[in-house]
Structures are given as structure tokens and as C-alpha cells.
């Protein structure tokens, strides 16, 4: 097997069009792309397993067969590796029986030794094999039931089951995060190509040949990488499953909310998948300009924190108080203070920070706004993380909030009330944060019980990132939307901007009021509303040089 394949050419919005003939009709498609993508632009889906938009094309599954014209007349070719050529003739399964039969034959081979596992397979419901079988399969089996499955695969796990069928490894532990079911694998080698060309660390390979071939890690190695859980997404069948989600939910029960990862300044596009008021997993959402189809394991497991250690009420002088009472008390403290220090945060949305700004402006000279972060900034990994854990750092800069947290530490004695939102200052740098303990009243707005709420004199529970609607600006200068998933641990929780609005009596009723305030502070946002940002975000003009 060659180690090098070409990346597919994807259609660009401004691409030149060429005319090709599909099923007898002339259509215009983008130039230079492969047939799978070209046919998709005119609304024809081609079934495939091994082809993936963000992986090099290997063309081994042979499921995407179409007929094209060549020197010897019409003949079968794989759509994923056949580039569009002006004037070419293409026949799909809609007009050609030969294509239909070829796809059925491929499907029959794929299914010959594929276990009938669908009811207990975690991929069922989002499985390419199921979808393609319904679209292009041979629906009457020609297999002999008395023989059953003759699966070869890894000799280590080969065994005969109670019915005399030859079976293989059902739960092979590949590493700390992923489990492999060798029988289900259809050898599309997407995972191999992902580890090779995206992750850049070859750990998986396809061992042996023909019907003895099976997927495994290299001898003595395990599958261990910051991005290894992506192989479970791109696996077209249920062969690779993540230990964190294995057996937890059936995918058809999950609803999806599109949002972004706020704990990295690239803002990887994700969907939070939830059911019964609980988030069950995070899946990457394709955005070719931001994270392609990938997210890091850190992003993916962020959902686990959403139901752990949540601050669902307020607490005043170590005693639990209802939220409304805590917010009212915070308002009294802030308005009655001699001098207030407000700390804005780059892990909160533009809306939340605009509210904090408006609070400070409303208190006149009594309040001062600080910001910044003590979190360590890493370097971009080139896949789906920028390394900066402050997601909205650029948004704060655009709002004109300077990073002067250390100045607050130096001047802590001037203030008598501290309002911190969206920061875990004591966890990041307890030494520096110790100076803030000189401020007698410390109000903390936090979704979680953390080191900072432990040091607070008054803490107020707020919604976490997956439960709010708002916007963030990523490190590319792209404004992106967060949407609220219905997974609140307590129905009384409010987003930060709403709590701040109550504290400062701003009278804001929806996040749109907050967004308008942010728009007023950022000229680049003029004329962009939530709908204009859309699911793929919107690049702000002239924000990043």
C-alpha cells in the first residue's frame, strides 16, 4: 500500500464552471473537483465508504462506481478519484444498470462477513454501511445460512462460535480511548490515513491481505494521540468506538445543538448532542476554514464537566442561598461599594463581556474593569487547536478591554468589592490570586464549584458555555455563534449577561440587547446580526492583519 495519496479538490464558491453530461442531461459543475463532489453540487449523492473530504483519497472501497466515457466507450470508474473534465459523459445508478449492479456487488462483498450486529452496534443510526445498503444494496441475500460467517482477520482473536461460524475479535483494546471491533471493520483505511496525514503519527495499519486483512496498531504500539477519538467519527461502521461514549446512548435518541469550543481561541465548531436534559457527547462540525472535520480529545470530553460539580444556587458567607437572593445581594454590594474591581473573561461571550462593560460604565468612576488570564498559552497544533485556552481573547481586545489582571493584583488594596466572572483565578495562579483576598467582598459568578468560588464571600451560579446563546471572536478574527443546548442542571440558572444586568440594573431582557451593546463597541460588527453569522461563522474585515 502506497503511503501517499492526493487530497481531494473540493468545490470553492468562486470556482470556474464546466459543463458535463450526467445521465443524459448537460449540467454545470465546478472545475477540477472529483465526481463525488461535482455530483453533490447538483444534488446526486454517491454512496462511498473510504472517501472523506478532509482525508487523502485512497479509492479502495469501490462503492462510488459510476460510468464515464473513455477511449473504449462507457466504463466503470470510481467517482472519488475521477476528476471532472469539460464535456465528459457520466452515468450514475439513475440511468445505468451496470452501475447499480457494480454497487450491489461491492456491497455484497462488504457484507459477506460483516456481523449482523446492528442492534448492539453503537454506530447504528449513523452508519454508512446501513445507509448505503438501503440505497444500493442487494436486498435478497445469496449467502448460505448454514455456513454463516467465515471471518478470518487477526489469528490472535480467531475463534469458532456456538453455531460453528468463524469469528474474530469483538473488543480489541487499541489504547486508552478507543476499542476496535475487527469483525465490523470494512478496511476503508480512513483511520490509517487520518493518523498518517492529519495526526502525523502512524500508529494504525492494515495487517495481512485479502480476506485475512485486519486493522491493528503496529506491534508493541497503542493508539494514543491527542486527536485519536476522531477515528471513531470517520469510521464508516461501528468498528472503532470511543470508550467514553460506548454503550451510553443510541444515536437516534440524541438531539443536536450547534456551538463552538470556548476553551481554545480557534473555536473548533462542534455539536453538543443531548437527550433528557443531559449532554452525552460532543461531535465535530465541519468547518473547512476552522477545524475541518476534527476536534481534539480535550474538546470532545468537555461535555463531561457540564454535569459535574455544578453551582446551581448561590452561596453567601458559606451558606447556600437561592439564586435570586444571591443576585439581589450582589447588586446591593456592588452599588453600595466604595470602589469595585470587575474582572472580565475571555472564556465568556461578547455578550457577557459587553454586560460587564456596561455595568462598569453605569457605576461611573466607582468601578474599574480588568481582564486577562493567567492560563498558559501553548502553540498551535496545526489541526484544530490554537493552543490559547482563552477562547474570546480577540473579542475582548475588540471591545477595548485591556489585559491588566496583574495591575489589579498590585492595586488590590484600593478596592472593597471584587466581581469575577468566568475565571478560576485561584486554580490558575493561587500565589498571585492571594493578593485579591485583601478585597473584603469577593463576588464570583461561576458555573462550577471551583477554587475561586471557595474563596468567594458571595458566589452566584450561572449557565455554562453549552447552555448560553452568544458570540465569540476566534484567533482568525472570525465571529462564531454559541447556541444553548437544553441541558440546564437547574432551571433557575441565568447566563452571565443576565445576572450582570440584574446587578447593574441594565434592564436587558435578551442576549440581543447584549449583542447590540457589543456591536456599539466594535465597529467591525456593524450590520452583522446572529443570522448573518450563521453556522460557519463570519470573518470580520480588518480585524486580523
Amino acid at each position: 500500500m502506497s503511503n501517499f495519496y492526493h487530497m481531494p479538490v473540493l468545490p470553492k464558491p468562486d470556482a470556474k464552471k464546466v459543463t458535463i453530461n450526467v445521465d443524459g442531461a448537460d449540467v454545470e459543475v465546478p472545475e477540477g473537483t472529483n465526481l463525488v463532489e461535482a455530483l453533490k453540487t447538483i444534488g446526486i449523492d454517491t454512496p462511498h465508504f473510504c472517501y472523506h473530504q478532509d482525508l487523502p483519497v485512497s479509492g479502495n472501497c469501490r462503492q462510488c462506481m459510476v460510468e464515464t466515457d473513455g477511449p473504449r466507450g462507457m466504463g466503470l470508474a470510481i467517482a472519488c478519484y475521477t476528476p471532472v473534465r469539460a464535456g465528459m459523459k457520466v452515468a450514475t445508478d439513475r440511468s445505468s444498470d451496470k452501475v447499480k449492479q457494480a454497487r450491489q456487488a461491492v456491497m455484497e462483498f462488504q457484507l459477506a462477513n460483516h456481523p449482523l450486529d446492528c442492534p448492539i452496534c453503537d454506530k447504528a443510526g449513523e452508519c454508512s454501511l446501513q445507509d448505503n445498503y438501503m440505497a444500493a444494496g442487494r436486498h435478497e441475500s445469496r449467502m448460505r445460512e448454514d455456513i454463516g460467517k467465515l471471518y478470518k482477520g487477526s489469528p490472535e482473536f480467531r475463534h469458532e462460535d456456538a453455531k460453528g461460524q468463524e469469528r474474530g475479535g469483538k473488543h480489541v483494546d487499541l489504547g486508552p480511548t478507543v476499542i476496535l471491533d475487527q469483525e465490523r471493520c470494512i478496511l476503508c483505511d480512513r483511520c490509517v490515513r487520518f493518523m498518517r496525514s492529519v495526526a502525523g503519527e502512524e500508529q494504525l495499519y492494515i495487517n495481512q491481505r485479502g480476506d485475512h486483512a485486519f486493522l491493528s496498531t503496529f506491534p508493541g504500539m497503542e493508539l494514543k494521540h491527542d486527536y485519536d477519538l476522531n477515528v471513531t467519527d470517520i469510521c464508516p461502521v461501528g468498528a472503532l468506538t470511543g470508550k467514553h461514549f460506548r454503550f451510553r446512548q443510541r444515536v437516534w435518541n440524541l438531539s443536536k445543538t450547534e456551538t463552538i469550543d470556548p476553551f481554545d481561541s480557534l473555536g473548533a465548531n462542534i455539536t453538543v448532542e443531548h437527550n433528557d436534559g443531559q449532554a452525552w457527547r460532543i461531535m465535530p462540525r465541519r468547518n473547512p476554514e476552522v477545524n475541518k472535520s476534527w476536534i481534539s480529545n480535550r474538546t470532545r470530553l468537555e461535555y463531561q464537566k457540564l454535569s459535574k460539580d455544578r453551582l446551581t444556587a448561590g452561596s453567601f458567607q458559606k451558606a447556600e442561598v437561592p439564586l435570586a437572593q444571591a443576585v439581589a445581594r450582589a447588586g446591593e454590594l456592588v452599588r453600595g461599594a466604595r470602589k469595585v474591581a470587575v474582572v472580565a473573561s475571555g472564556t465568556l461571550t461578547l455578550e457577557d463581556n459587553a454586560a460587564l462593560q456596561a455595568l462598569v460604565a453605569g457605576l461611573d468612576k466607582k468601578a474599574e474593569l480588568f481582564s486577562g488570564s493567567w492560563a498558559k498559552v501553548g502553540s498551535p497544533d496545526g489541526i484544530a487547536q490554537s493552543g490559547d485556552p482563552v477562547g474570546n481573547r480577540l473579542g475582548l481586545k475588540l471591545l477595548g478591554i485591556s489585559e491588566n489582571l496583574d495591575e489589579l493584583v498590585a492595586r488590590a488594596k484600593e478596592f472593597d468589592v471584587l466581581l469575577v466572572a468566568g475565571h478560576d483565578l485561584w486554580a490558575l495562579d493561587a500565589q498571585k490570586a492571594k493578593a485579591l483576598e485583601a478585597i473584603p467582598e469577593r463576588i464570583v459568578l461561576s458555573p462550577w464549584h471551583d477554587a475561586t468560588t471557595a474563596k468567594a464571600t458571595l458566589s452566584v451560579g450561572v449557565r455554562a458555555w453549552a447552555e448560553v446563546r452568544g458570540t465569540m471572536v476566534n484567533c482568525q478574527g472570525r465571529i462564531q455563534m454559541l447556541n444553548a443546548a437544553p441541558i440546564l442542571p437547574s432551571p433557575d440558572l441565568e447566563p452571565v449577561w443576565q445576572v450582570v444586568s440584574s446587578i447593574g440594573k441594565l434592564g436587558w431582557t435578551s442576549e440581543l440587547d447584549a449583542y447590540k451593546a457589543a456591536q456599539a463597541g466594535i465597529p467591525a460588527l456593524a450590520g452583522i446580526n446572529y443570522r448573518g453569522i450563521g453556522s460557519q461563522g463570519r470573518l470580520l474585515e480588518g480585524v486580523v492583519a
Partner: protein, 188 residues
Amino acid sequence: MARIVPRTEMTLVEKAYIPEIARGLKVTMGHFLKGFFKPESIPVKHYPEVEPFVPRDYRSRHRLMKRPDGEPRCVACFMCATACPANCMTIEATSSDDDRIEKKPSKFEIDQLVCVFCGLCVEACPVDAIRMDTKKMAFAADKRETFKVGLEDLMDWDPKDYPESDIQSQKAPGGTLNAQARKEWGLQ
């Protein structure tokens, strides 16, 4: 299509009203006196003192079938919960201890107050793990929580209560085919 049904004319006696009232009361009093002096002659079901006849295919309370070793046959595939129109099932899956079996339920709860006893779960089950042939049809409890039956309650049945022809039930522990089934299953 509409059809006109002619009304029968009332006779003179019927029109007179009083004799008809008396005739009706005669029937009522007749039953009353019969029940008072000869109660054994009245055709009633002595429920709940005497158990009524319930056919085996009557859709009664659910039970979970067992493997020869007493583990649930259920593979926690959620097909029943997906088919359930009343959304009365709560299932949580975990990996099975048996290497040959992928999943098993760690929690299997049916809320009988929500259940509509339609039997779609039985139809949906790919492994004959859930059945509704226990003949249990009367439920009484003083708390809503008590109506939620879990894994243990659903597996609490005796093969002796099921006919010899019910092979799947007899393969369970305590059944007549259990020894043979254990052997086939690789247990001694």
C-alpha cells in the same frame, strides 16, 4: 349510507307507563331475592378470591427472559424503548461479563403507569428477551414509584409456571431443559 330504521309503535300497556315500571322492578327484585337466598346460583366471577382464566397470549405484565446461567437475554439494544409509543422504558447498558456477549442492561425499568400494554416492545425485540405472558394483570400499590418495575422484578419468574412447550422459558435456571442448555452454552 344512511338507513331509516322504523320505530315500533308502543302498545296501550306500554303507553300507560306504570305497568312497565312494575315489570322492570320485578326483574330487579327477582335478582335481588335470588342473590339474597340462593347466591350460589348467580353466574359471577369470584375475583380476587378465585383467579380468573387468562390466556397465555393475553398482553399482561412484562418479564425478561433468562439465559441458561440466569443472566438476562437482553442485549440492551434499545429497540423496545425505541418502539415504545408511551416512552415508558428506561434502559442503561453496560458491557457484559461474558466475552461472547457485547452488552447487557445495567438498568431496565418499565413504568407500568405509563405503559399502554401494546406489546410493541415484544414485537421489536430481536433476541426474544422481553415477553408479556406472565398472566399478571392486576396491579395495586400506594406509591407511584412502586409501579416502576426493575431488572430484578422483571426476571423474577419460575419456569414451572410456564408450559413444557415453552422451550425458551424451560432453558432458564430451574427449567426442565436447563441442564442441556447449560451444556450447549458451554457451562458445566
